[in-house]
């Protein structure tokens, strides 16, 4: 498979800024979290998204270098504020 598709989730203020809570992104196979963030921030995209945004893949915190797979659920996590 040359291309993979991941599901993107936008929480809190990111959902507000992106004007959506869910989306999807197509990426080259073996793309990393950092590649996805770069693509999202690209021309005409979510330029407000921090370069080092916190990301969870399949409901666990992930590193920038984490390699994505087709069908992954990738959440963009603004500063948490529980408690």
């Amino acid at each position: 498979m040359d291309r993979i598709s991941v599901r993107t989730l936008f929480f809190g203020v990111y959902g507000e800024l992106a004007a959506r809570r869910e989306g999807s992104a197509e990426l080259a196979a073996d793309s990393t979290v950092a590649d996805l963030v770069e693509a999202l921030r690209g021309p005409g995209g979510l330029d407000w998204l921090p370069e080092r945004v916190v990301v969870a893949v399949n409901q666990g915190y992930a590193e920038a270098g984490t390699v994505l797979s087709d069908g992954d659920e990738v959440a963009l996590i603004p500063p948490v504020a529980g408690g």
């Binding site: 809570r21 948490v80 504020a81």
Partner: protein, 163 residues
């Protein structure tokens, strides 16, 4: 300790009220033991004043499945890090009014030192790790995602575009 770790940790994310102490009393009775000489129960509540602004209500949004996982992980990690007998922790989501409980944590331990330390560690860890976000509404009609970077002029008032 005779009970297995899974019987000594209870965590959940809920839309239902956490205001009632009694709910926790029953859980503590289930998961605690007579070797526990101390119980520490913490509640975080919606405060009227936050950073100098008058809050009218707020809404917590959670990444549901991940929040459940993280809260359970925090509970089990507390059991490993501290000499405690049991941990119960719950976080509320949805709309909350003033004075309502947003988070509740009960820790039982043989000795109070470990109980205070674990209780404090759990709430601090929830605040940095649990994928939960707070949308505060103020008496002046504005609203704001807590922890979010300040928005540019023109987008900071008038409340959220989502609800």
């Amino acid at each position: 300790m005779s009970k297995r770790a899974n019987d000594r940790v209870r965590t959940w994310i809920t839309r239902e009220s956490l205001d009632d102490f009694g709910r926790f009393e029953n859980i503590v009775r289930e998961i605690g033991s007579v070797e526990d000489g101390a119980l520490l129960f913490f509640q975080g509540r919606v405060r009227r004043t936050n950073r100098g602004r008058a809050v009218s209500r707020l809404r917590y949004e959670a990444y549901g499945e991940m929040a459940e996982r993280e809260l359970a992980a925090i509970g089990h990690e507390a059991l490993e890090r501290f000499d405690v007998g049991s941990v119960a922790a719950a976080h509320r989501v949805g709309d909350l009014g003033l004075g309502e409980v947003s988070v509740a944590i009960a820790v039982t331990s043989a000795h109070r030192d470990a109980g205070y330390a674990a209780s404090r560690w759990i709430i601090e860890t929830i605040k940095v790790r649990l994928p939960v976000w707070k949308h505060e509404h103020y008496e002046d009609g504005e609203s704001h995602w807590v922890g979010a970077p300040p928005l540019e002029a023109g987008t900071s008032s008038g409340g959220s575009r989502f609800e």
